[in-house]
């Protein structure tokens, strides 16, 4: 095909993804005077960010004056089991307050304290009430604010436009891409028409989110097929920490059609408690040693905390997500679960109906309309659901640049910030902080760039052929069935607790699925064709699934969102290492155990400091 016949759009920077991270990145690019474009699979304002409920974490200190960036940093490192990139966690904790205030300047209307400041709520793993929020629709507030601001910044928004693969200048054609080169652009297609489009760009920022759609029970939507991870991997970038997958402890379990849909942690933050079928608050049995000093060990104390009593420690229901998810799994396995295979989450007996409806309106409606259950009167049934990727594309902590020159990544698709486990609320703040930094990083890169990166027609053709083959095949399997098959495999073999045997079986199954994915067929025309779209996403989903499985097999210990049934302990050795994945020269996936840099002494001190040492400190 002669590529001059394909629609071509030129930008300095192209941002892939219009969630919080992507829009914030685009705003930063536009601020630097760059010609900026942004593309997304869905319509503007519909990305995952819109679904976030609980809040955005930032040490504003509005509700508890003792809070400051150092305590936030310490909480984040402890929550991440000290495997976070230290510099990222530092930047995040330091900059989050300004990013949240900036949203207010752009029109966001957060819930208020009595003094008229931005109110903050409690969340798992955060020492103080720290999550700025709007009831339980914080993500909506955030994305709408960014969206409404963004459309006046001269940014070109291309909606329902899906990226297929990067174009590199100075690299051999697609099959052997992992051999270097710098970003020259990207090929995408319009959902509406199925037509292809070439974007010429000096820099590309990935903000494509995670890959939770590889599991059957998930809070994630059809968009989360790990596209950014797949595209980055194919162009030679590295992936990091992929073994750390967050299963959110509270997804809906009944009825079947909503299995996996999220129940915000805000329910517990605002007083909800977890119960087994004997009405026991079982979480008291699962307090790990390292959190014992800061966790209430009696119901009385937990109740005092709820009343806001100074000195009372937080209830174990608010331990980090990995702890709570494992505890629920155990209760269910030992026969103390709820009728539909979860446990109970009760706020009705703790808070008044008015309070619940005011603070958790969408949870109230969600259960009322989807489960015919009134959460102000009855307990909910909840169980773990695949929710979030801690790992992702490996980036430089300050600039967000990947190992491919000109390719940047931010938001959920980037790895490192959250270590082994993410605290609730730390994602929305991550999007803002690193969205902005990636925009800055791309700006600096372009300033220094010499010459204009050249497009390679061979690459363009190879990318397009891969997509059109799916339509042109005489016959083949149904892409949706292959996707479901994959989801069952991951659900079965790469769950909350993994063992080497299961993971190896998983890899075998994936091998078979790669074959199946190569034979899928989409019917009818490419015009708004979900079957074709799903088939195109399959390779990304598979790469993501394989990377998670291989990383999980490599890390022989249990830490945060990665629990090995056959290595049920934290190891000192593994605390010093990250698992890094890249595409090898032979086309196979390479897994490396990479030694971590020693942390800067100042940060190490803060992370391991006692709370008393940090509470009085001025924010520095």
């Amino acid at each position: 095909m002669d590529i001059s016949e394909i629609q071509t759009i030129e930008h300095d920077v192209l941002v892939i993804g219009a969630g919080g991270a992507g829009i914030r990145a685009a705003i930063e690019c536009a601020r630097q005077g760059l010609n900026t474009g942004i593309i997304s699979k869905s319509l503007l304002g519909k990305a995952h960010t819109v679904m976030a409920e609980g809040g955005v974490a930032a040490a504003l200190g509005n509700v508890d004056k003792r809070d400051n960036w150092k305590v936030h940093f310490r909480d984040t490192m402890r929550g991440g089991k000290f495997l976070n990139q230290w510099r990222m966690a530092e930047l995040h904790a330091r900059q989050a307050p300004d990013r949240v205030r900036e949203l207010e300047e752009w029109g966001a209307v957060f819930d208020r304290t009595k003094d008229g400041l931005i109110s903050q709520r409690n969340f798992g793993g955060h020492r103080y009430p720290r999550l700025a929020h709007v009831g339980d629709r914080t993500g909506l507030e955030m994305i709408r604010t960014l969206q409404d601001f963004c459309v006046h910044q001269g940014i070109a928004t291309h909606m329902e436009c899906t990226a297929l693969d990067l174009l590199l200048d100075g690299a051999p054609p697609l099959a052997r891409l992992a051999e270097g080169g710098r970003v020259a652009g990207l090929v995408a297609y319009w959902r509406e028409t199925g037509r292809f489009v070439i974007f010429k760009a000096k820099a590309v920022i990935f903000a494509t989110g995670g890959g939770g759609k590889a599991w059957r029970i998930t809070s994630n939507s059809w968009e989360y097929t790990g596209d950014g991870l797949g595209m980055a991997y194919r162009s030679g970038a590295e992936l990091i920490d992929l073994e750390f997958t967050q299963f959110h402890p509270t997804g809906m379990v009944w009825p079947p059609s909503v299995r996996g849909t999220l129940v915000t942690e805000g329910v517990r933050g605002d007083g909800g408690v977890l119960l087994n079928n004997r009405k026991e608050r079982f979480m008291f049995k699962y307090i790990p040693k390292k959190f014992a000093a800061e966790t209430a060990d009696t119901e009385e104390e937990a109740n005092l905390w709820l009343e806001g009593k100074e000195g009372a420690r937080r209830p174990p229901d608010l331990l980090t997500r990995d702890e709570v998810a494992r505890a629920i799994k155990k209760e269910v396995e030992e026969g103390r679960g709820s009728p539909h295979g979860g446990v109970f989450l009760d706020i009705a007996s703790k808070r008044s109906p008015e309070f619940i409806k005011k603070k958790l309106p969408s949870m109230y409606h969600q259960f009322k309309e989807l489960a015919e259950l009134d959460i102000t009167k009855e307990p909910m049934e909840v169980g773990p659901t695949m929710h979030y990727f801690m790992g992702g594309i490996r980036v430089n902590s300050d600039t967000q640049e990947t190992s491919v020159p000109g390719l940047f990544a931010c938001g959920e698709c980037a790895g490192g910030m959250h270590g082994a486990n993410r605290l609730g609320g730390n994602s929305l703040s991550d999007l803002l902080v690193f969205g902005r930094l990636s925009g800055e990083g791309a700006g600096k890169y372009i300033k220094k760039l010499q010459g204009t990166p050249k497009l390679d027609a061979g690459q363009v053709n190879a990318i397009i052929r891969r997509a059109t083959d799916i339509l042109n095949r005489e016959s083949g399997t149904n892409p949706f069935l292959v996707q479901e098959d994959l989801q069952d495999v991951m659900q079965k073999y790469v769950g909350i607790i993994r063992t080497a045997d299961e993971l190896k079986k998983g890899l075998e199954e994936l091998k078979r699925l790669y074959q199946d994915a190569g034979k899928v067929k989409a019917h009818a025309s490419p015009q708004y064709n979900p079957g074709w779209n799903a088939a195109i996403d399959l390779p990304n989903l598979l790469t993501t699934a394989e990377a998670v499985t291989r990383a999980a097999l490599t890390r022989e210990e249990s830490r945060g969102g990665h629990t090995r049934g056959d290595f049920y302990f934290e190891s000192e050795e593994w605390l010093q290492h990250n698992v890094v994945i890249r595409k090898g020269k032979d086309g196979n996936m390479e897994v490396a155990k990479v030694k971590r840099d020693a942390p800067p002494e100042e940060l190490r001190k803060i992370a391991y400091a006692s709370l008393e040492e940090l509470e009085g400190v001025k924010v520095g």
């Binding site: 008229g116 709408r144 909503v258």
Partner: protein, 259 residues
């Protein structure tokens, strides 16, 4: 479980019609689940938009048995067993394919609206607002942009006046800006001239379909209409109010939203 019958509109710009489908139903199933089941098992090219499947993103709007609704929040058991359920695209917007319509007109309206313009921060670097002053604005900001109200509004749907009226969604977007305690922009002249507040004749159909239960007409459009009338007939009252409001912003006791 019982088998349910569906008529789903299939087609594109050039035309189309209803196609019959049968789907095995399961407890708790919603219309979107049924559409997905058809898509996965019978017609992989059946086009439908969705994201959250929990009433939070406003992607999955269609007309079910003739009524504009979110397909992810409409349970099959709302319809008597044996009744055929019809699913078709929003009528007010041009069809792209099957259940997917071209809603880009809405994005264009949003862009026409002058953005938020905040006043000065307090001396401590913070903005202050009281919760009671923002309750109303927060009600409007619950909007998930499903455009069901736009679909049902007869000014857009039947009279086709898309060039004269921005529709209920953007009237409440305007209301959320106009009632924002920190905002200093004046949009009233345009609300009258350009955005077409006068065309709404308060039938409240928009309020009836809003999945977020926003009181679009009573709390949003009517107050905006009042502001237009105030300005039009009584510029002095307007000036006095404006000054009064300004001085109130500074000490954080503004009550503009708290009608």
């Amino acid at each position: 479980m019982a088998e349910r019958h569906f008529k789903i509109w299939r087609g594109d710009k050039k035309g189309g019609g209803f196609v019959d489908y049968k789907v095995e139903s399961e407890p708790g199933m919603v219309v979107l689940d049924a559409v997905h089941r058809v898509q996965a098992r019978q017609s992989t090219d059946l086009a439908v938009r969705w994201n959250c499947k929990a009433g939070k993103c406003g992607s999955c709007s269609v007309e079910i048995n003739g009524k504009p609704r979110l397909s992810c929040m409409t349970r099959l058991n709302q319809f008597p067993e044996g009744q055929t359920i019809t699913v078709q695209p929003l009528k007010t917007f041009p069809v792209i394919k099957d259940l997917v319509t071209d809603v880009s007109w809405n994005y264009a309206q949003n862009k026409k609206i002058a953005p938020f313009k905040p006043g000065k921060k307090g001396t401590d670097g913070n903005y202050r607002m009281q919760q009671r002053d923002i309750d109303r604005v927060q009600e409007f900001r619950k909007c998930i942009e499903c455009y069901l109200c736009q679909d049902v509004c007869h000014v857009l749907r039947d009279q086709g006046k898309k060039d004269k009226f921005v529709g209920p969604r953007f009237m409440i977007r305007l209301a959320s800006l106009e009632m924002h305690p920190l905002d200093t922009e004046d949009r009233v002249p345009k609300i009258k001239e350009e955005y077409g507040s006068g065309l709404c004749n308060i039938t409240k159909c928009c309020t009836d379909v809003c999945p977020e239960h926003i009181h679009i007409t009573d709390n949003g459009i009517i107050p905006l209409k009042e502001r237009v009338v105030d300005r039009y007939y009584d510029p002095i009252l307007w000036l006095v109010r404006k000054l009064f409001r300004k001085s109130n912003i500074e000490d954080g006791k503004n009550r503009r939203g708290g009608r």
